[in-house]
Symmetry: C2
Subunit: 417 residues, 2 copies
Amino acid sequence: MNIKEYMADVGARARASATVIAATQSLQKNAALLAIASSLDERRDELVSANKKDMAQGISDGLAAALLDRLCLDDQAIDQMIVGLSQVAKLPDPCGEITDLSYRPSGIQVGKMRVPLGVVGIIYESRPNVTIDAASLCLKSGNAAILRGGKEALNSNKAISACIETGLKKVGLPKDIIQVISTADRAAVGELITMNEFVDVIVPRGGKGLIERIVNQATVSVIKHLDGICHVYIDDGADLIKAFDIAINSKTHRYGVCNAMETLLIASSVAPKILSRLVEAYIEKGVELRGCERTLALVDMIAATDEDWGTEYLAPILSIRIVDDMNSAIDHIARFSSGHTEAIVTQDISRARQFMSRVDSSSVIVNASTRFADGFEYGLGAEIGISTDKIHARGPVGLEGLTSQKWVVFGDGHIRE
Amino acid sequence: MNIKEYMADVGARARASATVIAATQSLQKNAALLAIASSLDERRDELVSANKKDMAQGISDGLAAALLDRLCLDDQAIDQMIVGLSQVAKLPDPCGEITDLSYRPSGIQVGKMRVPLGVVGIIYESRPNVTIDAASLCLKSGNAAILRGGKEALNSNKAISACIETGLKKVGLPKDIIQVISTADRAAVGELITMNEFVDVIVPRGGKGLIERIVNQATVSVIKHLDGICHVYIDDGADLIKAFDIAINSKTHRYGVCNAMETLLIASSVAPKILSRLVEAYIEKGVELRGCERTLALVDMIAATDEDWGTEYLAPILSIRIVDDMNSAIDHIARFSSGHTEAIVTQDISRARQFMSRVDSSSVIVNASTRFADGFEYGLGAEIGISTDKIHARGPVGLEGLTSQKWVVFGDGHIRE
């Protein structure tokens, strides 16, 4: 297979079908989503047996248990994909919404209409359910999609792709709206991220290595989700009961997620009042603690190194630092945060305002757990990822992040004088 | 000079000063803009004499008259820069605005706060006034800027840069907020567009060649303004008086601008009623006409080639095509438009709605001149360019296009269950 030709063909088909899906009404898009769900339901056996091939290959290739876990597509995972499709079908259609329509001094009426981006390229790793997540969000937002899953999931993704094709056909939409790349050749990714004439934006989902590689090589715009090194700062004006709950929830609600706290910052004046209770609770939950020197002076634990402050553990490990005050906390965050999510716990309204303004992360939270930084919690209905970027989309990216706005102008024979 | 080291130093300074300007209040930013204006006013002689060096060099290098014209910095051009600065000072500050703040079922309150992008890199060609335009918009929107003007304008830009520095110092802001690259070495651009750690977005302003080169090589996100191949379509439901005015104004109001019409499309049923009057008016204004075969059958003129449909003339030249109906017009636009601005003239509300929805350009206009596609006409107050891109900013880009939004969350001890 000539990868360059293959990808150019995929790109041209995507571009052509993007015009069709952009002009498709909500009812038909929703029907397509439900038809894909039915097709998944009807072809469970095919999906599971295709996945078994991938799993067997994965085991013989010696894939890590965590990767095999993500790769697995059982009946429950298929149920979740079906539920996801019907949830996206229920979301309001973002396309066509006109906002800010107002008259200008010249007499023309100017506003903005929300429109699809065109062609979205999504590159992801082993989870085959991402194929359905990505397909459903792109379809609902009126975009064509080119999906490139991990090579470990090639058979699973082909089987899912067949269901998508069936669903699209059933409602009379061209199959090229959602294309799944059928080659494991890495060169396909290199083509996808540089086909500026065919692709409007790339959304990579996966580990830091994958994303950095894509950002460095892409000429197409990238909505990227790098790591989540999230902080909770317990201010000296904090309500210590709220602080305790938020610090525990932010770390221990789930460990392997990007909005989990990785470093706890505590104002030195309150550290003696709360640290030992926190440490006790963390240890009870099996969290390994690594502290700065001032922390160690209060409670015995492993000493944190400079590397700890810049590490996304994604695991039951927490680094703790005692800081002089909010300014030191903000300095620490500016230096070590990945710009994902930071929280302050304080009853002091002036410091809450300052923290809110000065911390440059995609979510800044006052008196709540970092775990709320999530598309569902924010009311987006679904998310394609969490952008740690500032261009186009920031934080949880839902349907709106997959759209753009064009200017619309209404006149009545107006000309410029 | 080691360009790599020089640019890394510029980048690091920009990143550091971005934190300062992001936290600077409106009053101080406005004071800085006015202080820069005063400094330009006080140092007119230095500016003019620096510009004379560039002009002399330009003449001896054999620069085209149009380029020399753009390069020239006389008292009138300085006046315009001063007026521009005070206009930007009067615009509302986009930063800090919180929108969409609402309660979620969990009890947290979620909204979005408008924030600066960080560091903006602007690459432009001969016009030295762009240095002030770009500096003022970046400063007002709370961004640090790295400005790279054309090598023809190096002395002029250095003199302007000195005025900016004086203005920033006068109000106590660090000079690194606005840095003007002081080397003509092209390698500086190559560094600027790949320093992802220091630069958040690149805005290239200039010819198509410059912009394509930057898009192909940049790893930093680019807000790009490619060419403006704009269309007016006169529908068979058009009011022919409005159609006449709009077709004449869109082409002849100004020729060298990106929102001028380059191709006129006319529905075949109305062509016999309006074409000869239009042709007469265009010829009177000195516009060269190039027509499709059906146009030539009605009025004698030069035959248009396929190349004409894809050309941005930026000159008193117009191509004319007679089409069957609106669908053929939309097909022509989809194939040849650069996605900048298209207008329909029609009294038929159904076709107006369809044209509005189906045409995928940054501005879509009903019954008004394409010349309205402009930041000032749209009420943005000022513009850094017109984006033909769909990512982040589309159409005229003002202060808002130089900002992002972060999510803000207010709780009262809320944790995720």
